[in-house]
């Protein structure tokens, strides 16, 4: 039986196995996607998921850990892990958030689908090359993970106004990059 958020969190703080497993089932896929967007490696993203939940367990065992917003806490932990690993080994591999549109779509793509795929690849390329690290984190958290400005600010440890500025600059950079790509074509 999956309890509601607050009861689940309280049960997890008491190291209830059912509650902790339920938390894993609920958040592990999302954390994996987030980590994969940032580190571009499936194995690395899987390891980050494992580390995130191990740290959560250690915090609960020590009597600490999140009291209210478990989701933000998990993303914050993942964010710090990704940042630490990116400092250790710089990944230059392209973002392979595999756009499996071709597999999902029809066998013969339409002109609109081809244009959309081109734009998508350009967007991914721009996110990897044009954005700073903070801008990439903010864009991912705000538009791919649907966090609010306040939650995003808490996760990356910045002020809300600062997050707003970072977000606007990031979007402007993506617009410019996509416009340049479209202009080249």
């Amino acid at each position: 039986m999956v309890k509601d958020g607050v009861a689940l969190l309280k049960a997890a703080q008491k190291l209830d196995e059912e509650a902790l497993t339920a938390i894993f089932d609920e958040f592990a896929p999302a954390i994996y996607k987030y980590a994969l967007r940032l580190c571009h490696d499936a194995i690395e993203a899987d390891n980050i998921v494992g580390d995130v939940f191990s740290q959560l367990l250690e915090q609960f065992a020590a009597g600490r850990g999140p009291r209210t917003n478990l989701r933000s806490y998990l993303y914050q932990t993942a964010y710090h892990l990704v940042v630490d690993r990116s400092r250790e080994n710089k990944h230059t591999a392209p973002l392979e958030i595999a756009i499996n549109l071709q597999e999902r779509g029809q066998s013969i793509p339409t002109q609109t689908q081809i244009e959309e795929r081109v734009l998508m690849e350009g967007l991914i390329s721009a996110m990897n090359t044009e954005l700073t690290e903070d801008q990439r984190h903010v864009i991912i958290l705000r538009f791919l993970e649907d966090f609010s400005l306040k939650e995003t600010a808490e996760i990356i440890g910045k002020e809300v106004n600062n997050v707003k500025v970072i977000q606007n600059r990031g979007i402007a950079k993506l617009r410019n990059a996509l416009g340049l790509q479209l202009g080249d074509e």
Partner: protein, 229 residues
């Protein structure tokens, strides 16, 4: 194609969100099993720390987790026993050492408790003469002699020496110092020439010793005159 506006970029981001890969099922299942084991071990450790023997009961129904729980409980109990034995051994060793060196320890603490008492030893060069034979040392009784300050005034009356004299001269109740007693006759002055002259012995013509002496003396003078000549 025209340059994309902000709305277009946001729509692309939404499309990107829907187009992403999911967690591979194999990886997800493996990761979930690992996490479940971690949760079981953490719960066991917590229960063993809080309830003691309750951990084995909690982990008994969970297959391999139950076996791990019992082994962990046994290991923790053995560790506790070893710790207790080690502490007992240390305490016993400390007690034996304290018993063996109790005198040194007592001296050590005494030196701290009475730091001002200094032991003065005689100098190495002893100047005393060596004593040979039997030496009888008798205790001489110590008698206290009263210290009396005596002031002499010519007109004072004599007092006993044991009485204390008031040197301040304040008056009543004081005792005067002893003085020379007053002469009995009426002449308190000098007594020179008052010594009675010895009475002359009556002249005797018989040849006794005295006359011989006189004669000898005259004879002696005569001899000196002869030598000068």
């Amino acid at each position: 194609m025209s340059k994309p506006n902000e709305e277009h970029v946001l729509n692309l981001l939404k499309s990107l969100k829907q187009a992403e890969n999911n967690y591979p099922s194999e990886l997800l299942q493996t990761r979930r099993d690992l996490f479940a084991k971690q949760v079981a071990s953490a719960a066991i450790l917590t229960h063993s720390a809080g309830n003691g023997g309750g951990s084995s009961a909690a982990g008994a129904g969970q297959g391999s987790a139950g076996t791990a729980a019992s082994s962990t409980a046994i290991g923790s109990s053995i560790g506790t026993i070893l710790e207790v034995a080690l502490v007992v051994a240390i305490v016993a060793e400390a007690g034996v050492a304290a018993y063996i060196y109790r005198e040194k320890i007592a001296d050590f603490f005494n030196s701290f408790l009475s730091p001002n008492s200094e032991v003065v030893t005689n100098p190495s060069d002893d100047l005393s003469l060596p004593v040979t034979g039997d030496v009888n040392i008798t205790d001489t009784p110590v008698t206290e002699t009263p210290i009396v300050t005596v002031t002499v005034s010519p007109y004072d009356t004599p007092v006993a020496p044991s009485q204390v004299i008031d040197a301040s001269g304040s008056g009543a109740g004081t005792v005067q110092a002893p003085s020379t007693p007053n002469p009995t006759d009426d002449n308190p002055g000098l007594h020179l020439g008052q010594t009675k002259q010895p009475t002359k012995a009556p002249k005797n013509d018989s040849n006794d010793g005295g006359d011989n002496g006189g004669d000898n003396g005259s004879n002696g003078n005569n001899n000196k005159d002869k030598d000068k000549k």
